[in-house]
């Protein structure tokens, strides 16, 4: 069992047991007959944690009372009581989740946050029975939907080129040219581009980075193809690992390059790539 999940619940447990909330509980007793029979919240928690089937009706009434009090929105005390009462269910749910879509701490938080949001929104007027069962089902649905969404997103991120991801959020410049194989048309153009890059990006790039951005920004090559040529002897597993590293480095490089080249941006279409594509001397443009 995850010790971190248990640790997270230490604070709610302390809060639920704290005598300073006695007044809140006392007030709630006046509102709910199910609570009126109990002198302390510990007694309520004792019944809710019991295994007796005969106590089902009482448990149902207590759960509904706790949910109603939580929905009144008076502090975190009732949330803590509910978390402690439903800890066994939450813990089972937490430990049914496998995979690496989210780290352990995030999963702990996801389970707790999903449960509390379900409790906060639970329509007590609409559902008048099997409250505990509904709380469990709705929490499960939310948790698994969130995990699946995270998995889908990670899969997309994993497969996508970094520049495609960035393109989704903004229109960055410079970026990998959309058409692969777009090498310069003539030696003069190639020379223009290289001089441009050396002049403006050379001081901020090391040799490998310079080679990488030439491949992607100038020639429109995808990173896997670049790596195939640069490291033809790598086994597939090693190549995969290297690809992940290079992909991240490429994103960082673009972030570093953009401010260095921002003053040179010109109103061309993205298919033109860097400003000088088409034959204009970049050096002349940049010094205008």
């Amino acid at each position: 069992m995850s010790s971190s999940f248990r640790r997270i619940l230490r604070s709610p447990r302390r809060e639920a047991r704290s005598p300073e909330h006695a007044a809140l509980f006392e007030e709630a007793r006046g509102r709910h007959p199910a609570l009126a029979r109990h002198h302390t919240v510990l007694s309520v928690l004792g019944v809710l944690s019991g295994e007796r089937r005969s106590a089902y009706a009482e448990k149902e009434a207590l759960t509904r009372a706790l949910v109603a009090e939580h929905q009144r929105g008076e502090g975190s005390f009732w949330a803590s009581v509910l978390l402690v009462a439903y800890y066994p269910m939450l813990s089972r749910l937490r430990h049914r989740i496998y995979g690496d879509a989210l780290c352990a701490d995030d999963l702990d938080q996801l389970v707790l946050a999903s449960f509390l949001s379900v409790v906060a929104e639970f329509p007590l007027d609409r559902f008048r029975d099997r409250t505990a069962l509904r709380l469990r089902q709705q929490t499960e649905r939310r948790v698994f939907a969130a995990v699946r969404a995270e998995q889908r997103e990670q899969e997309l991120v994993h497969r996508a080129e970094p520049e495609d991801l960035e393109r989704g959020a903004e229109r960055p410049w410079p970026e990998t040219r959309p058409e692969p194989g777009g090498a310069p048309a003539s030696p003069e153009e190639a020379a223009d581009i290289v001089v441009f890059l050396v002049e403006h990006a050379g001081p901020v790039l090391d040799a490998e980075s310079f080679e990488l951005v030439t491949a992607t920004l100038v020639c429109g090559r995808r990173i896997p193809r670049y790596l195939e040529r640069a490291h033809p002897d790598l086994d597939p597993e090693e190549r995969k690992r290297l690809y992940q590293r290079v992909k991240r480095r490429h994103s960082r490089l673009l972030r570093r390059l953009r401010p260095a080249l921002a003053h040179l941006r010109c109103p061309r279409t993205e298919a033109d790539g860097l400003c000088l594509f088409g034959g204009t001397s970049p050096t002349k443009e940049s010094t205008k």
Binding site: A190, V198, G202, D206, A207, A215, V218, C219, R229
Partner: protein, 99 residues
């Protein structure tokens, strides 16, 4: 007349810009790795001969000769930058002044 140390600095700057230029061209034309490695070897030897630099080994994993050469040139570049920071006039300016 330019001083010998300024000439060395100017040469280092030129080499520092030549190496990435070649890297860029080799990448654009997808030159065979052997050609790129040989070019790095030639450039490195010339650089070391003109600047009296001892050869340096690249400590990184999967280090291509041209990348290693740029690292080597970068170290010279750093020395130049430090010299500039202490008030030394940029040797390229000296060349332009003379021209």
């Amino acid at each position: 007349m330019m001083r010998a140390e300024d000439r060395r600095t100017a040469l280092a700057l030129a080499f520092r810009e030549t190496a990435p230029s070649l890297i860029g061209l080799f990448q654009i034309y997808e030159v065979e790795p052997e050609v790129a490695d040989a070019a790095a070897e030639v450039l490195g030897r010339l650089f070391r001969r003109h600047l009296d630099q001892p050869p340096e080994r690249c400590g990184r994993e999967r280090c291509r000769p041209m990348h290693a050469l740029v690292d080597e040139l970068d170290r010279v570049w750093e020395i130049i930058e430090a010299a500039k920071a202490s008030g030394w006039k940029d040797p390229l300016d000296l060349i332009l002044d003379e021209g």
